[in-house]
């Protein structure tokens, strides 16, 4: 109880400091919370940015496409590398090495290749989301006890049954965690891509507000984007919990 109280007190203190500091500095740079509220209201009433719904929809569609591609390719690649010992041995280290490169170095190439439209954002979201999913599948397969598979086979289980009854439950925990991380990274990839260069979507609106020094609108747009980001993660964590209950 006291902990919750202290957390709220800290939040209130931070908001108060922000309010005071925001009023002291140049209004083009600092936006106190009291100035954000009207900006947010204007934004949600579609007065400051009438194309807000279209931008949100576009960004969500980019995220959806990037995530669908990441899941499909990540699962396929992970299972392929996990099932075939040789392929896993040969390509696994390369996957890990690529993971050690900050992904943003690929973005200029993707932008050159796919242009400024949605495709380059989808590609970058895919690139970020793909790795955790593929690596989670690899780690998950390694967790499956080979004895269980052998026993199931000895009792006459086919490949599909072994997969559904033995492997999937054993690796689900890791797999679902990877799928959740993948979604979070897909979202980040799309947002980063939009802010680094785009013509439409939330990132383009944020850049527009920033470029015109409409700082209050910028903060309001960031808050809306944050709601999307946090919302997607909350959704993923609910699904994760369901999946985990199913295995128990």
């Amino acid at each position: 109880m006291t902990v919750v109280g202290l957390r709220l007190a800290l939040l209130a203190l931070l908001l108060a400091i922000w309010e005071i500091a925001g009023r002291l500095v140049n209004p083009l740079l600092g936006v106190p919370p009291s100035a954000v509220v009207p900006a947010l209201r204007d934004l949600l009433r579609l007065q400051s940015y009438p194309d807000l719904p279209a931008s949100i929809l576009l960004t969500l569609r980019e995220i959806g496409a990037a995530y669908a591609l990441s899941v499909a390719a990540g699962l396929a690649c992970g299972f392929m590398l996990g099932m075939h010992r040789l392929a896993g041995r040969a390509w696994g280290p390369m996957l890990a090495a690529l993971y050690a490169v900050p992904a943003v170095v690929w973005y200029p190439s993707l932008m050159l290749f796919f242009g400024l439209d949605a495709a380059s954002k989808i590609a970058f979201g895919f690139l970020l989301g793909f790795f955790p999913i593929a690596l989670a599948v690899l780690a998950g397969i390694r967790q499956v006890s080979p004895q269980l598979v052998v026993v199931a086979r000895a009792y006459g289980a086919g490949t599909v049954t072994v997969f559904r009854r033995v492997m999937l439950p054993a690796m689900l925990f890791t797999l679902v965690g990877g799928l959740r991380t993948g979604l979070a990274l897909c979202v980040i990839g799309v947002v980063v891509g939009e802010i680094l260069g785009s013509k439409a979507g939330m990132g383009a609106l944020i850049n527009h507000a920033y470029g015109l020094l409409r700082t209050a609108d910028y903060v309001a747009l960031v808050l809306v984007t944050l709601v999307m980001v946090v919302g997607s993660d909350v959704l993923a964590s609910l699904l994760e919990r369901r999946a985990r209950r199913w295995t128990d």
């Binding site: 050690a100 490169v101 943003v104 190439s109 980063v192 700082t215 984007t225 980001v229």
Partner: protein, 235 residues
């Protein structure tokens, strides 16, 4: 890998892909020679900023992690905030950082620290929390002072997590610095990459990308090597 390179070369030579966007590997090697002067200077600039950001991230992250992790009330109050700050996409505050700090080195270092600090702090915080309580109790009952407790019990126990955080943090710091350079850079590798992309100089762009990737992989491998040596030394 050779197969992939061969297919790539073939695809570019046969005109299946537009060489304006996807250059052949054989076109990238001369490009690497061509850009090496400017790109190496950019790389040095970027790595310099990353080094500053990295040192700051490690020092601040480890000390904040120990401070917050070892005081229970502090940990319980702050951990949701720390986790939330760790999780949200920091790119959203980047325009504001650039407004406040301008172009150049300062925002890059600041943003790099913002990326590197939280993973290190979260890892160290968790490690301090999970230090075996019995060890602490025994040390206390044998008359260890608070200083001795931190230095002799806590610190050795969290070394693996600190090293893990240090390995994770360096990629994050480099990422942060590169993003700032792409978004609002006047120097550095991120700026170089961005300007090659804008100028449709695909061979140069690919060469520069390869250069950054190799540098990053080398740094991570070197840290891994150091890590291994240190853990062997610890026994």
């Amino acid at each position: 890998m050779i197969v992939v390179l061969g297919l790539w070369e073939l695809a570019a030579r046969m005109g299946w892909v537009d060489p304006l966007f996807v250059p052949a590997p054989s076109a990238i090697v001369p490009a690497l020679m061509r850009i090496s002067g400017g790109a190496l200077a950019g790389l040095a600039d970027t790595l310099g900023k990353t080094a500053v950001a990295y040192v700051l991230s490690v020092v601040l992250g480890v000390s904040a992690g120990i401070a917050v992790g070892s005081v229970r009330l502090l940990r319980e109050v702050l951990s949701p905030y720390v986790i939330a700050l760790y999780g949200i996409p920091k790119i959203l505050v980047l325009p504001w950082i650039v407004l406040l700090l301008g172009y150049g080195t300062t925002p890059a270092v600041f943003y790099g620290v913002l990326h590197g600090f939280f993973p290190i702090m979260v890892l160290v915080m968790g490690a301090v929390r999970d230090v075996d309580r019995t060890l602490v109790t025994v040390a206390r009952s044998l008359g260890a002072t608070t200083w001795q407790l931190y230095w002799k019990v806590l610190l050795p126990a969290i070394v693996p997590s600190v090293l893990g955080g240090m390995r994770l943090g360096v990629v994050f710091c480099l990422l942060g610095v590169l993003v700032v350079e792409m978004f609002a850079g006047v120097r550095g590798m991120g700026y170089v990459l961005g300007s090659y992309a804008n100028g449709f100089q695909a061979p140069e762009l690919f060469a520069a990308t390869a250069l950054v990737s190799v540098a990053s992989i080398t740094i991570v491998l070197a840290l891994d090597h150091l890590n291994e040596k240190l853990s062997r030394w610890r026994g």
